[in-house]
Symmetry: C2
Subunit: 181 residues, 2 copies
């Protein structure tokens, strides 16, 4: 961030009066440009004993498997974002169940939210950001080929909780890993 | 948003290739400037049978009562944001309990997250954005003077759930109101 998006002047970085953190500030028009974490929202769509995964057609983690999820947009609720992303990435219609996992990823300024969901039919197909889709039973999950840690976390909780049918919310914060994000 | 924050050139608004929504795009350097919902995170701090509320020293809703909460910052987890905001607004130390309410407010592009919390001591005091602090028993809550609907929602759920000591997650999405936000 180099220029003021309001007036186009060069920005400086300093702590505004009454604030405690440095911000990008415009000395010409007075605008303060905050940067805040973004929400990545999706679903864990289930059909019978299997979970629908998407193989990513885009970077990061091209070719790896993930749950349908993406950046929440302005003007929608968290639940609407989960339904929309599932439709966009997997062309899949779901009944959204409860908010199931909320994973903070502070080193990339993101919060990943996954809902449990019931697939309404098997008429899913790969969206433009997806190479292929497949239903995986627990023993078939490609654990070493999962794109993101927050997705592995949601899947592991799901298969564990399914044994008792107790699906409470799981919250967690990830530390910077030595391996893949 | 009028100018590219990367190169300072004027922006145009159109749908990028492969996207479905109009974005602020720079025709000079190619940057796409997304805008996404922001997280407002806080706590519902309890001492015995009372809840700690803050009377706002800032707009919006100056003079109204709220729970300690504010915008989540880059580089922190949701839980860390709740603890930090409680310390900043109420100078209060808490033990954070579970994530308790998640309220989408799509018409202002926000998601409000409140954790249940236990006050660790009574050495709280008003932060710079707070006029005064007070512990309220249920019958003392100034329901008509609560600053935001998401805060009323969290408080109402809390007093209801407290009757059974069952504190599950509450999720909700608010429609544009005719009255106060």
């Amino acid at each position: 961030m180099n220029f003021c998006s309001a007036c186009g002047s060069p920005l400086s970085v300093r702590v505004p009066a009454g604030d405690s953190l440095p911000r990008h500030m415009c000395d010409v028009c007075g605008a303060i440009h905050y940067r805040n974490p973004r929400l990545v929202v999706g679903s864990l769509p289930v059909w019978q004993d299997s979970v629908l995964l998407c193989r990513r057609a885009i970077e990061p983690r091209h070719g790896k498997w993930t749950l349908p999820a993406g950046f929440m947009e302005n003007g929608e609720s968290v639940a609407e974002a989960a339904i929309r992303e599932t439709l966009e990435e997997a062309c899949a219609r779901i009944e959204l169940l409860e908010m199931y996992s909320v994973v903070s990823v502070p080193y990339i300024n993101q919060v990943h939210v996954i809902y449990r969901a019931q697939l309404l039919d098997l008429n899913f197909s790969a969206g433009v950001e997806t190479l292929e889709l497949r239903l995986f039973a627990e023993h078939e999950i490609p654990w070493n080929e999962i794109a993101f840690r927050s997705i592995s976390i949601a899947l592991r909780h799901y298969f564990k909780d399914r044994q008792t049918s107790q699906f409470g919310l799981h919250t967690e914060s990830l530390a910077l890993p030595s391996g893949p994000l």
